[in-house]
């Protein structure tokens, strides 16, 4: 998982900027970890059309299962703030409230990749 997360960090076209921004975002994150898991499970249905809930990764779209919650929050917020440039993720993240981001982080963070 950490390897996948690291890959996501690396593949951002603004990796350097995002990296710096991430540290700040994580420190001053407005979407706290420990969110509403049931809400997260419902919202996750928006993610699982592309990101496989099993944690399997086929090609470019990464696994988002089992991440540390604060890092999940930081990545979503970097899309929301448009520091990352995938328009699909910007659109998805842009409509999420802090509570919803925390809920998603809680839900996906609670899952373990199927081996």
């Amino acid at each position: 998982m950490r390897k996948q997360l690291a890959t996501i960090m690396r593949t951002s076209s603004r990796a350097a900027l995002a990296g710096a921004a991430l540290a700040a975002l994580t420190a001053a994150s407005s979407a706290k970890a420990g969110g509403d898991r049931a809400l997260g499970e419902y919202l996750s249905a928006e993610c699982t059309t592309c990101h496989q809930v099993s944690g399997r990764q086929d090609g470019r779209i990464p696994s988002i299962v089992g991440w540390p919650e604060d890092q999940f929050v930081a990545v979503i917020e970097s899309y929301r703030d448009k520091h990352r440039d995938n328009p699909i993720m910007q659109t998805i993240a842009g409509r999420l409230t802090n509570e919803e981001v925390a809920a998603l982080a809680s839900y996906f963070g609670s899952l373990k990749p199927v081996r």
Partner: protein
């Protein structure tokens, strides 16, 4: 027709009243029953999410005639030689194994809305507490003069997966260098808005790659504009020169007739004789069963409540995907999958008292233009003033770098694996 063992067990449970749930809508009944008609992107997703999230508290039966699903999405990639046919065929078995869904591989012939029963081809009736109708589209065979059901082999549509998709590829492979392909594009609304134009791209890709550079593709369109037009057309010019020509209604002056015997297409502007092959994509309507059940007007689509995907004519029925009138959402597999999750959430709320949340929807449509060159359009949607409205959208831009287009195609391929896993595992 086959109803498997699980179906028999469900019936037995219902008879004995073995399990009583404290469900608000069906208090005192053995187990709430959901029947899903149609095993496409909407139906499989709804069946899976209802069964999975209710953890056995709802009996789910999926009625689908075929024992495998051949995806319309990415069928153009088969035509373009980017995928083998087997890669777009998927089995339903895991839905029964992993989620306890009863698979009824038969045709639903009618919906008895008064009795809340689905009538199967065998005459057997499946009672339901909630019904999900996701039958996809039917073709209007009378929408192009001279074309008909009988003519669909001579002039294939390829707009329903299976034999027709293969026929399109067979005919493409026989087009001689210098031959002319005419595509008659459909009027709105129809399944997969960018689909005809991705298909034209795939025709050009195959022709160019096999040295048939003098072949031409003429798209005769009844619409003034089409999905991703501002990106497709510059890309066509860049990739294929003048090989693809799009002719809108202002110039073609309407399709007057086609003659399948001579591969001729007559428009108000010009007559195209001895075409190498003609691809007629006709006007479309909701699948027959939706019309027969009175969920859609004759020749039309099904009105739904934007917050739930519930039919506006029957509160016990939900209509998903291509058969529905989903406001700003296009008729796509991604849309159907998204709508199914909202319906599944509402259905669980009604039948088991599960927690519900405000509806929200998403869609993205990728289209392959050439090798390592894909474009996309999509958005996020919410109920607004009784309709599903777009709240934010995006679209690929003309002139994007090769790197961006390659990444978009990689995303497209990865998404396919994702939605298939979401539907079938």
């Amino acid at each position: 027709m086959s109803i498997n063992r699980r179906s028999f067990m469900v019936s037995s449970l219902a008879l004995t009243g073995a399990t009583v749930l404290g469900a608000p809508a069906v208090l005192g009944q053995a187990k709430p029953r959901v029947v899903v008609i149609g095993g496409g992107a909407g139906g499989t997703t709804a069946a899976k999410y209802i069964a999975k999230d209710s953890q056995g508290a709802i009996a789910v039966t999926l009625v689908e005639e075929n024992d495998s699903y051949q995806t319309c999405f990415h069928s153009n990639l088969y035509i373009g030689g980017f995928k083998p046919y087997e890669a777009i065929v998927h089995k339903y078995d895991a839905l029964a194994k992993n989620h306890g869904i009863t698979l009824a591989h038969t045709r639903a012939t009618a919906i008895d809305r008064d009795k809340k029963e689905v009538v199967l081809a065998s005459g057997q009736r499946l009672p339901y507490d909630r019904l999900v109708v996701s039958p996809g589209i039917d073709l209007k065979y009378d929408s192009v003069p001279g074309w008909s059901k009988e003519a669909e082999e001579a002039m294939p549509h390829g707009w329903k997966p299976g034999k027709q998709t293969r026929l399109i590829k067979e005919k493409l492979d026989k087009v001689p260098n210098g031959g002319v392909i005419v595509m008659v594009a459909p009027p709105n609304p129809y399944r997969c808005p960018p689909g005809p134009y991705e298909r034209a791209s795939m025709f050009a890709h195959v022709l160019k790659a096999t040295g048939r550079k003098d072949a031409r593709i003429i798209i005769l369109d009844p619409k003034d504009k089409f999905s991703k037009q501002g990106v497709f057309q510059p890309d066509w010019e860049k990739r294929y020169g003048t090989m693809i020509e799009w002719i809108g209604p202002g110039v073609n002056d309407g399709i007057k007739s086609v003659d399948p015997a001579t591969n001729t297409v007559v428009t108000g502007f010009e007559t195209y004789k001895n075409c190498a092959f003609v691809n007629v994509i006709p006007a479309q309507m909701a699948g027959a069963i939706a019309q027969q059940a009175g969920l859609a007007p004759a020749g039309g689509f099904c009105a739904i409540d934007a917050a739930s995907m519930k039919s506006t004519v029957d509160p016990n029925i939900f209509v998903l995907g291509d058969a529905s009138i989903a406001g700003a959402m296009p008729k796509s597999a991604f849309s159907a999958n998204s709508q199914a999750k909202v319906a599944a959430m509402v259905i669980r709320g009604e039948l088991t008292g599960a927690r519900t949340f405000p509806a929200r929807y998403t869609n993205t449509c990728w289209s392959l233009v050439d090798t390592d060159d894909a474009i996309k359009v999509g958005g996020r949607y919410e109920p607004k003033d009784g309709k599903i409205a777009e709240v934010e959208g995006f679209i690929s831009k003309p002139g994007e770098t090769d790197e961006v287009r390659k990444a978009t195609q990689e995303e497209n391929m990865s998404w396919y694996a994702g939605i298939i896993a979401d539907m079938f595992s």
